[in-house]
């Protein structure tokens, strides 16, 4: 690309097309940090679409971030179904007790209507405001929970595993209800201005269920759902491993996958090159301790492992950076990618010892 710098959107589109852009795109998937930026509590920050949009725009400027992230918090979807959301001062809002206490009520379960649900309308409004602010300069990443992973918050993890293994009819019924909701929710975000949808599907990771079970369940659900989402998707396994199902993920129609910090990026790149873009894999939990030097080393290693040939976005491994990660570390990551992420990449992986 010579000296001509790309916009964030061009940079991302190039890399998703498995071509080398001017430099490695950076997705700092920040949510709660926007509250700090605006001098608000986390609860105050998420109470208004304007705050979240303003926070995202400010953070993009501050960290030279290549995206805006319209994700509020994981339980926003179950909040839409009437579940409780518990706010904390130092971490992401958490889902309270699962709202399905008796699995038999799944037979009567109805999904909320996206455009009539206040907490979802707020997210849609935030996307509209972000779009107004950045136009086509940078991508806006919307988020859905996969119909297959949402039940963890609907039922609780334990009850969901029991359902998955022992109650196939109720499982099928729950997935059908969730699937329609997921598609409507994703398309509403795209309609509001989101560029792509992050399809969070941690239960599909081999960390959580064996591949044989995934092929009969999460894989089928993803194939049926992703094709109905009217925009590109990236699947995120939220720190779960991906290597044993990389080819399966390609078949679901997704364009990219979030990689765990526990995985060898170089190895994953070898099997995914030209087929699936990689997003990752800086450890959000390690970041809370990083010095500037450690941040730089981690960035260089990730770039060396996966950036050549495009198809790579530098990001964290979980899809949400912990609130405890400081500005100093975020700025060090941003600076490192601008220093070492310019194509052509000449780095090689440094010993991690």
């Amino acid at each position: 690309m010579g000296d001509q710098r790309m916009t964030s959107l061009q940079r991302v589109l190039f890399t998703l097309g498995h071509q080398e852009p001017d430099r490695v795109p950076l997705f700092l998937l920040l949510t709660m940090h926007g509250a700090r930026e605006l001098g608000l509590t986390i609860k105050e920050y998420f109470s208004r679409a304007e705050f979240v949009a303003e926070g995202q725009v400010k953070m993009r400027e501050k960290y030279s971030n290549d995206c805006l992230y319209s994700f509020f918090y994981a339980p926003v979807e179950v909040e839409a179904w009437g579940a409780e959301v518990i706010y904390r001062d130092d971490g992401p809002p958490n889902s309270g007790n699962p709202f399905i206490s008796d699995p038999l009520t799944i037979n009567r379960l109805k999904a909320p209507l996206v455009k009539q649900t206040p907490c979802l309308i707020k997210v849609i409004e935030a996307i509209r405001l972000m779009k107004k602010a950045v136009g086509n300069e940078a991508p806006i990443i919307g988020v859905v929970m996969s119909p297959f992973s949402l039940p963890v918050m609907q039922l609780g993890f334990e009850a969901y595993l029991e359902l998955l293994y022992n109650q196939p009819e109720l499982f099928k019924r729950l997935i059908a209800v969730n699937q329609q909701f997921c598609v409507d929710w994703a398309n509403a975000q795209l309609e509001a201005g989101a560029t792509a949808i992050c399809y969070f599907d941690p239960v599909s990771s081999p960390t959580i269920i064996p591949r044989e079970l995934y092929l009969k369940t999460g894989y089928q659900v993803a194939r049926q759902t992703i094709c109905k989402i009217k925009g590109p998707t990236a699947t995120h396994l939220a720190s779960g491993i991906a290597l044993p199902i990389i080819d399966d993920l390609v078949e679901t129609g997704t364009a990219a996958v979030g990689i765990s910090a526990a995985e060898d990026l170089e190895k994953i790149k070898q099997v995914s090159r030209g087929k699936l873009s990689l997003i990752g894999n800086l450890s959000g939990l390690e970041m809370i301790h990083w010095s500037r030097e450690e941040a730089e080393k981690a960035v260089k290693n990730a770039i060396a492992g996966a950036a050549a040939g495009g198809g790579f976005i530098l990001s964290d491994n979980h899809g949400e950076i912990p609130y405890q990660v400081t500005d100093r570390v975020l700025l060090a990551i941003s600076e490192a990618v601008r220093t070492y992420g310019n194509y052509p990449i000449t780095l090689s992986v440094i010993d991690n010892g």
Partner: protein
Amino acid sequence: MDDFRKALLASDPDAAASILAAYLVDGIALDFVEEVLVKTLEQIGDGWENGQYALSQVYMSGRICEDLLEKVLPDESGSRKVRPKIAIATLNDYHALGKRIVYAVLRAGGYQLIDYGRVETGELARRVEDDQIEMLLISVLMLSSALQVKEVVTSLGYKGNKTKIVVGGAPFRLNRRLWQEVGADAVGFTASDALLLVGRLEGGHKNG
């Protein structure tokens, strides 16, 4: 043992029960626990840690073994291990799966333990004191909950309490320095680590 492991990994309670029944023709339940069940659960836990097995298999294996043991070694049989005195809790966190898995695995290992459920830091320290707990297992999923372990440690230490505090859960698996930072005595990365750590403390009692 291979057949038992296969039955657990396939989440087949009937096959697992048949293997136990065949063993009980000539053997006794406690021997089965120590020679087959605990070792198998350890193998499955290690397999999860190295990416060979999935968390759902760890969970289902623990649940199947727990159910099997309830039948052959009920609480009232007096055969369960009551020392060390163990309690388990989820701290300020609504994610209970990790705790449930460790609970099932320790129960399946023949241990008696108290489940505090989900508790706040102050309440947890108070109950540990009141119940004279020797080993407290704390499970968390959220980083902010993990950081609150420090408050429990401080609160118990302030009272001169000697309870061993073992932590576990995703923040500790993904940041291997964190358990020391919050002042825990040990960390378990898998449910079978909990068996090992409890076994060590139990050994201390036997030798003490």
